[in-house]
Symmetry: C2
Subunit: 504 residues, 2 copies
């Protein structure tokens, strides 16, 4: 710092020629004043021009640069207004003496061209522990391929885009204030009412519209649940194998994951309790376990509820894919059994409608509504209104129910085609498991076959097969491939399995 | 638990008349099988029916209830499939013995009607510390009124809704896979490119499109920054007074807020350093301080950058309202001065376009892009695609620049009208402060006047005046009202000030 230097020393007349060379681009779109302004500002910031250093007069600089005096004056004015320069009667214009002369000292003196490179070269720097933990999660590279068997992708070409875009146009044209102004953290009421009615009728969820929060997909529902319910180091039971994105949400809250094995009845509750695995919360997919596809038995459901009531733990129920059961009636939600308001119910429209819709929902126990609403306010305030309004109409006018019915038939066919193709082509290698439900199945591999390696090979042939082991925290006993059939038609299924066969 | 009881004891024949009364609604829309299923399930869950208890045969129950046998069979089948019931040859159907008989013991024996009430009556239960902290923040009730002077609300009736909805229709009709399938956590590339170009030209932000993340408004930008950069108990400098919603984002990450006073040059950096207030990050609004409206001086900017480089701290620059300066040229961003990639730059389209758009952006230092991307993936995966594509076209076709120009003139007029109305009507009471910029101004009140009380009174007359003290963490020296004029036309400004006068 040089605040205390006597003025006389620092006000010495520096001829304009002492300035570093000013490179102007006379043909650029950027106005001349702006180029000058940018140049001086950077020269000051990087220490090429020191506090107190005198600038040439506007007239002499204009002459030297062979430009009009007006842009020079404008640049000086702006720099004065922003405090980079100051003027003294009789002493002209100089770099403001209040500017610290060790500004950005590690870089001071470096040439401007190097600056951008410096920015690019910086190494890893301190982030939060959760930021580090999230960065260190294994990348799920297979999700970057939109090939056959991509998990979670619905049959986009069967979506009633005509009906949908007519509804979008209707809401977008009408300049309703509600579509444009600030909305509610919990969501638009008509959509919340439609969701509450749908869940009550179809999923035996017991709730009122006031408990529904419209979210940006199920992931935000998991994220907010983790934020509101879990402190760093709190323990969470998760299914092993389980849904990788749910792990991200809990790690993001600093929670500690306790993998609990699943069997044909779902998560092994009694074993977890017996082993003394206390937890603040449990994450489950009871209707259709992700990824293995079994249904959680009534006994396990009630053991889990019982445990939650006794210990004050929370149950986060992810009811994904519950719309699609092909052989049997839908399994009612666990939330509907909960008499102690311990269940946070998570759902999404991403897979029933289309992923880029980004609309999901939470059913929140009544006493937690204020906390979830506050957390949403802090996270992103509210969801865009247009699609919420459109979706409310889409449901209300019966298009939603019709679409689900059609997709249920389509996916049942696709599942059948996939199972058949596997049996015919790969019957001796793949073993299909899981209930006849949802949009994917798991093909178990023979012991010793590395599913990640197989998945990578498949990716090279444009096949998006998710390795089962990516769903495990501990090393899995046996590998497998998770094959989505929602967005993969009969021909693609046939071709895809042929390609997979070549990879095996 | 009763797993070990001998079968003989628990298989005793209970006459059907021992069942609690089954109330069926013969006129309800709910199918009969479903009513029966629901009734039995709840009876089992609540302990009204015990594990091992025998059910009447389908024939005798149907006779007793005077209904067909088919719905009874269907209900039993579903309950068997879900594991609530089991059958034994010769013993008929009974409640599954594996169901824990102390299920939901606090509620066992209570009558079904009481259940819903129980759910409603539950008191406060354990949440996370951050969940509690967010719930305990004071509610900003004035934001619930959409009356004159609502802060942050733009002139919605001047938005080119015709152009916009044509673009929406164009993108929505075209069933492009990209509009419907999964998108990128960082956002749609065309929009990111448009934003990078805009920020470079207009805000002197130095960035590439790869550093832009499209967010759900600026709040998500703040939320993600806090999540990625701050551990619980980390200290954050915030401006005093400052933007309340930013506080929420940092509290949501468990951070500790250190209020640093502002004066006419912005946040008092030297004082904060002198007092030894170390921090991991600082949140600032350098172009147009929220709420007071001053511009941060060049000296302070460089002191702050200097401090950040020396201490490894992060600078979160919220460049809100920077589009609107009426008297002078726009002030360049602080990000553009940063040669050590210490600045996370936060912006939004909510106020330039319309709030329900829910699109903002972050400019992230290159080395932090993977962490921000991972945090976004964990938070809500990505933003809905439609509006991103539409906005990219809206910018690319020049509508955005045109809209800003028109709004700048409109808001300059509205500001003038508001300042004049205050001078004429309340000149002896209100003192207007802040630069001629943005979409709001602050009217300082005489010492001793309670701004919250005044704001409440104003709310009763339909006026949305935000009390200045809501922006303080420590008790403020003097109250004031934050008056937005973006969404308030000349007539409303006149009427609003008349009403405010009556409140004073």
């Amino acid at each position: 710092m040089c605040y205390d230097m006597p003025l006389s020393i620092r006000m010495r007349r520096v001829p304009a020629t002492f300035l570093p060379p000013i490179a102007l681009d006379y043909s650029a779109k950027t106005p001349m004043y702006r180029q000058l302004y940018d140049w001086f500002r950077l020269a000051i910031v990087t220490g090429q021009m020191r506090p107190g250093q005198r600038l040439p007069s506007t007239r002499s600089l204009a002459t030297e640069l062979k430009i009009s005096r007006i842009p020079v004056s404008n640049a000086y004015d702006q720099l004065l207004a922003e405090g980079y320069l100051e003027t003294f009667i009789g002493a002209g214009t100089c770099v403001a003496r209040s500017i610290p002369d060790d500004t950005l000292s590690p870089l001071a003196g470096k040439r401007q061209k190097e600056l951008q490179q410096t920015v690019e070269k910086v190494g890893p720097r301190r982030m939060s522990r959760r930021g580090m933990a999230l960065t260190q999660l294994p990348t799920q590279s297979w999700l970057n391929i939109v090939g056959a068997f991509r998990v979670s992708l619905p049959a986009l070409d069967h979506f009633p885009i005509g009906v949908w875009s007519r509804l979008v146009a209707r809401h977008s044209r009408r300049p309703a204030r509600g579509i444009m102004a600030y909305g509610d953290a919990m969501g638009c009421l008509p959509l919340r009412e439609a969701i509450a009615e749908y869940l009550g009728a179809v999923r035996a969820v017991r709730c009122q519209a006031s408990q529904i929060m419209v979210t940006t997909g199920s992931q935000q529902g998991l994220h907010l649940s983790a934020q509101v319910l879990l402190d760093p180091k709190d323990r969470v039971w998760i299914e092993e194998p389980g849904y990788p994105s749910a792990r991200q949400a809990f790690i993001g809250a600093g929670a500690q994951l306790i993998p609990i094995p699943v069997d044909h009845e779902g998560i092994k509750v009694a074993e977890a309790i017996r082993r003394g695995h206390n937890a603040r919360a449990v994450y489950i997919t009871p209707s259709h376990q992700y990824p293995l596809g079994m249904t959680m038995s009534a006994t396990r459901r009630m053991l889990l509820l019982n445990w939650a009531v006794r210990t004050g733990a929370w149950i986060i129920e992810d009811d994904y894919d519950s719309e699609y059961r092909f052989g049997s009636r839908p399994i009612a939600s666990l939330q509907g059994l909960d008499t102690d308001a311990r269940v946070i119910y998570v759902g999404t429209f991403s897979k029933v409608m289309f992923p880029a819709l980004r609309i999901g929902y939470l059913v929140v126990p009544k006493d937690l509504v204020p906390a979830f609403s506050a957390a949403r306010d802090a996270a992103d305030v509210f969801s865009a209104t247009l699609y919420q309004s459109v979706l409310a109409d889409f449901i209300g006018e019966g298009h939603f129910a019709r679409h689900i019915r059609r997709m249920r038939m389509l996916y049942a066919e696709r599942r059948k085609a996939l199972v058949k193709a596997i049996r015919v082509q790969l019957g001796d290698v793949f073993e299909v498991i899981g209930a006849e439900a949802g949009m994917h199945l798991v093909a178990m591999l023979p012991p010793g076959v590395n599913d990640v390696a197989l998945s990578r090979k498949a990716a090279q042939r444009g096949i998006s097969a998710t390795p089962l082991s990516a769903c495990y925290l501990n090393p899995p006993g046996r590998g497998g491939l998770i094959l989505g059939y929602g967005g993969t038609n009969a021909q693609e299924i046939h071709d895809g399995i042929c390609k997979l066969k070549m990879c095996v």
